[in-house]
């Protein structure tokens, strides 16, 4: 078994490798395309279905700016912003969540579990209720809140290293604290109404308008490419920071870039739709299960996030007696999964 004995003409080996890798690649590609198609289909469905049904022709006309009696208002002003916000916020939550989970090598380390989403919503609620801000100012404040929270959690858990159970447990504590801040501010709000409260407690697409969609769209357009450009480095970091450095990844730079981009996406999406419960947390593991372990899960996780939010919103609006905000539905899905992971955490050190 000497090294030079492996001749460059070890053709069968190479062919097997090519076959195996092609197969896995094709699988990933198919899954990603199916996910994307499903997102488009659900998006279209959301535009058509509701109290009144509008056919694809009407919907397309509205999207291209033509006036269709009835549909222009229902589809153009109500359903389109709502569906767009669901799609974009879901994508942002999914991709931001899986970035955290891969970088910290733990499915529990998603930003909505470790309190970063709570930081964003606490800041946003404070901005709206106490400072009477709106629009981009709220997004900005949410961003600052999320960054400060991320920094605080990082500093508090510094001794345990960057990854680690310590960071997750501290994050869960911080999340609980910030959620009580949200409740407190809401209880002091003069314009108390259930819609706003639900939005900031579990996340909701009710009352979505273009003003809340635009910041999320801009954030996705700018920050998703940043994250995708780091995915090779992030992939190497799944092997451990030391090995990634050995492979030529500039670990601190990749980490800072990816963290900033993920926190910003998450904060701005939270400012738009509220902290839609557990979407960031569930999307990554679902995507990994679907595309397989060797691939970068970023894009699929974003698509899964979009799907989760849009489907849950449909269920919340039409499938049950009464209407529920999207976060209630995703919360019902996510909580059992969280419990499952927590019980498993003690048994094995699991990584994504």
């Amino acid at each position: 078994m000497t090294v030079m004995d492996a001749p460059p003409t070890s053709a069968p080996d190479v062919r097997d490798l090519v076959v195996g890798r092609r197969r896995r690649r094709r699988h990933r590609l198919v899954v990603t395309i199916v996910l994307a198609a499903a997102v488009v289909a659900v998006f279209a469905g959301t535009l058509m279905v509701g109290e009144s049904f509008y056919g694809p022709v009407d919907v397309i006309k509205v999207i291209f700016g033509q006036t269709v009696p009835g549909a222009s208002f229902t589809v153009g002003d109500l359903r389109l912003p709502r569906a767009s916000l669901g799609l974009l916020a879901g994508f942002a939550f999914g991709i931001a969540g899986v970035t955290f989970q891969t970088m910290l090598r733990n499915p529990l380390a998603s930003p909505d579990v470790i309190g970063i989403s709570s930081g964003a919503s606490a800041a946003a609620v404070f901005g709206i209720v106490v400072l009477s801000l709106d629009g981009p100012a709220v997004s900005l404040l949410a961003l600052v809140g999320a960054l400060v929270t991320a920094m605080a959690i990082y500093l508090l858990s510094d001794r345990g290293g960057f990854a680690g159970t310590r960071l997750i447990l501290i994050g869960i504590g911080v999340a609980a604290m910030l959620e009580s801040v949200v409740s407190y501010v809401l209880s002091k709000a003069a314009s108390w109404d259930l819609q706003t409260a639900m939005r900031w407690l579990t996340g909701s697409l009710n009352g979505a308008d273009w003003a809340s969609v635009v910041p999320v769209a801009i954030a996705c357009a700018v920050l998703v490419p940043v994250l995708l450009s780091q995915q090779r480095g992030l992939g190497a970091m799944r092997l451990g920071d030391d090995l990634a450095t050995g492979l030529g990844v500039r670990v601190p730079r990749t980490r800072v870039l990816a963290l900033l981009a993920a926190v910003a996406l998450l904060a701005i999406a939270t400012a738009g739709a509220g902290p839609i419960a557990f979407v960031a947390f569930m999307s990554g593991p679902i995507a990994v299960r679907l595309v397989g372990p060797g691939a970068s899960p970023l894009l699929p996780a974003g698509l899964v996030g979009s799907l989760l939010v849009m489907l849950s919103d449909l269920v919340g609006q039409f499938a049950l007696d009464g209407r529920y905000p999207v976060g209630v539905i995703t919360g019902v899905l996510g909580a059992p999964y969280l419990i499952f992971l927590l019980t498993r955490m003690n048994r094995s050190g699991s990584s994504l």
Binding site: M4, D5, L17, D241, G246
Partner: protein, 303 residues
């Protein structure tokens, strides 16, 4: 043979926070050789290796590769020359062996580029060299400890570096797998001329496989040289604070450390007369065997 690269530490001081681990250390890694770094727990040997692999930024001094400071060179460029196998790398859950080994190609690939012909060849070669071609499509989770370590070494091979740093590559392996891994590294060194630097706990295996050894104590370099020069009972006393007898390894002729401990002195037997079990006779016997072995194998391979 690959071109030889020079790796050296120049008045290197390493610290974690306030705690200084390695203090003003100078060393030159002999190119094209196998070097082992030995020392007691906490002496700074792993820390030193981490600095040589640029994972740890020196407090002062520098690590120099081919005459240029490591931190002054692009990360990917270094990664094409200098490979690292850390002590406990993590494999993503469910990843397939071929894909994991393929990660070693990272420094040779550009953003978004697909695998080249050469990528496939090198991965196939690395799998063949480590004897895990049959495992290529298996999940890493299913493998035994020995197989997994071979996967990591295959990954380092796929990286195609002329210098390879390994932090205790034999930990958690049984003795057969330890020998297998070290033989593999020796093959790599002989056939490709790869410079190998490893931290090893087992003094005797280190002495047998290394061409050159560095002994560390409390962050200082105590000795450096050929195993026969470095491994002596005085040095073992200094480095490990352990009384021992060093004899010639009957298998390889390399120095073999026999720790004394408090319970196994042969002295009482010696007092009873120089029977076949006496210390002197035992040493003599071992020397005879060693000579036999040497003449049989034509001596130890030297570079």
């Amino acid at each position: 043979m690959t071109e030889s690269h020079t790796l050296a530490a120049q008045s290197l001081t390493l610290a974690y926070g306030e705690r200084i681990i390695v203090d003003g250390l100078d060393l030159v890694v002999p190119p094209g050789r196998i070097t082992a770094i030995i020392g007691a727990n906490g002496c700074g040997k792993s820390t030193l290796l981490r600095a040589l692999a640029r994972i740890l930024v020196p407090r002062s001094g520098q690590v120099v590769l081919d005459g240029k400071a490591l931190h002054a060179r692009p990360a990917k460029e270094i990664a094409r020359t200098l490979g690292l196998l850390p002590q406990s790398p993590t494999a993503p859950e469910g990843i397939v062996v071929a894909d994991l080994v393929g990660r070693g190609r990272h420094p040779h690939q550009k953003l978004l580029s697909r695998w080249s012909e050469r990528d496939y060849e090198k991965v196939a070669e690395a799998l063949a060299a480590t004897g895990i071609t049959d495992l290529a499509d298996r999940s890493v989770d299913e493998l035994s400890g020995g197989q997994r370590q071979r996967v990591w070494i295959a990954m380092a091979l796929a990286q195609e570096t002329d210098v390879l740093l390994l932090d205790e590559p034999t930990t958690f392996l049984d003795v057969a797998h330890q020998i297998e891994v070290l033989d593999l590294l020796a093959d790599l060194n002989r056939d490709r001329g790869t410079t190998i630097v490893m931290v090893l706990h087992d003094m005797n295996l280190a002495a047998r496989y290394a061409d050159h050894m560095f002994a560390l104590r409390d962050g200082h370099l105590i000795a450096g040289g050929r195993p026969s020069e470095v491994v002596t009972d005085e040095l073992i006393r200094t480095v490990f604070r352990l009384e021992s007898t060093v004899i010639a390894d009957p298998v390889s002729g390399a120095p073999l450390v026999l720790p004394r401990g408090r319970h196994h002195s042969p002295e009482p037997e010696h007092e009873r007369g120089s029977g076949p079990g006496s210390k002197h006779q035992l040493e003599h016997r071992i020397e005879q065997v060693a000579e036999l072995e040497l003449s049989y194998s034509g001596g130890r391979d030297e570079h």
